[in-house]
């Protein structure tokens, strides 16, 4: 199962808040975060890596980003 966070159209700090909430509840599941600005993309990526998660994949299409993150195992 994977979580999806749709933060398109939202401005900071909401995409980061939603990402952190998903990280808290996702357990070991992957999370797909959808944002529509490069600022939000940078912010959610920074927040996720700051929590020890890894950016598995980023798809960019027409100004929208789909960021796949999964839990890092140290």
């Amino acid at each position: 199962m994977s979580y999806e966070v749709d933060a398109r159209g939202l401005s900071c700090p909401q995409p980061v808040l939603m990402t952190l909430q998903a990280i808290q509840s996702a357990g070991n599941d992957d999370i797909c975060i959808r944002v529509d600005s490069s600022t939000s993309f940078e912010n959610v990526s920074r927040a996720a890596t700051g929590k020890g998660w890894l950016i598995a994949n980023v798809e960019q299409n027409d100004g929208e980003y789909r960021v796949m993150i999964h839990k890092g195992f140290a």
Binding site: G9, L10, S11, P13, T39, G50, Q60
Partner: protein, 361 residues
Amino acid sequence: MKHNWFSSTAGVATVGGVIGVLAVLLQHWGNPPNMGICVACFERDIAGGLGLHRAAVVQYLRPEIMGFVLGAFLAALLFKEFRPRGGSSPLVRYVLGVVAMIGALVFLGCPWRVMLRLAGGDGNAIFGFLGLLVGIWIGTLFFKNGYTLGKTSEQHAASGWILPLVMIGLLALRLIFQPVEGQAQSGVLWYSLKGPGAAHAPLYISLIISLIVGFLAQRSRFCTMGALRDVILFRQMHLFSGLIALLAAALIMNLLLGSFKPGFIGQPVAHTQELWNFAGMVVAGLAFALAGGCPGRQLFLSGEGDSDAGLFALGMITGAAISHNFGLASSPDGIGPHGMAAVFIGLLISLSIGFGHLKRS
């Protein structure tokens, strides 16, 4: 996907440092003391220059505001980040802009000037800084409880061009109706003959520096409110590093230029009423937090095509007119005759907006 170095922590810290240096240089070249860059003060001066209020000492069409928007606009176009958008509670954002300006003018400065006043040795700004922290902290409580102004949607390209075009129009007015020595009016514009409005760096210097600041701030996402909010909300120091770099660079510049004058009494364009310095910035900090950006960031976002941020900026200009026309704004003598009422009403409006936009669970 190209990597944007400016949005890294090193990048935003560098930009903060550059802004700190340029702000003090603007003071050195003619802008008022501890006011090299103050978005609230400069928008207030623009309101005066257009005759929207008639406080004779704060009337000047500050080119810095135009440069901020146009610099960000150029950066956004160049790096393909110009994205016309809007529709996220526009009227609420306009009102938040009005309230933010009213609070800022009780303190006499926006978050940018809080840092520049601290860097110049103005102890009164400590209370403003604490107020800003408390206001933003209240804002984070709303966000934690589901506060949202809703989603923006994509808009026609023309709507993203509106505020940059307004700024080009203002710049044209400033170029057509040049200040005339000893005259308070030149064509349709008003000019201060004394006071902070009469203190300004040469037009081309202000414009070049502010274009650079606008460009760099758009690339780095520099935000003075976000800096404090992210520390409180996420324990994240990324944007905060930019704010600290601004403070450190401005402090060093003031020490080098001999403009560091520590104390409380007789500080430039400042008053010593601690409680109201604090309370004014609580109101402003809360309004900036609820609107998602400091007054500078709102200008940079509007340069990227965010018409909601543009409305916030126009709200601030309206707020300046209300502040001075209604006796809400402070002066170096102390708070205005209705400054206390303005703080209470501003707080009430901001809190109402906060509670009124909690997501229904």
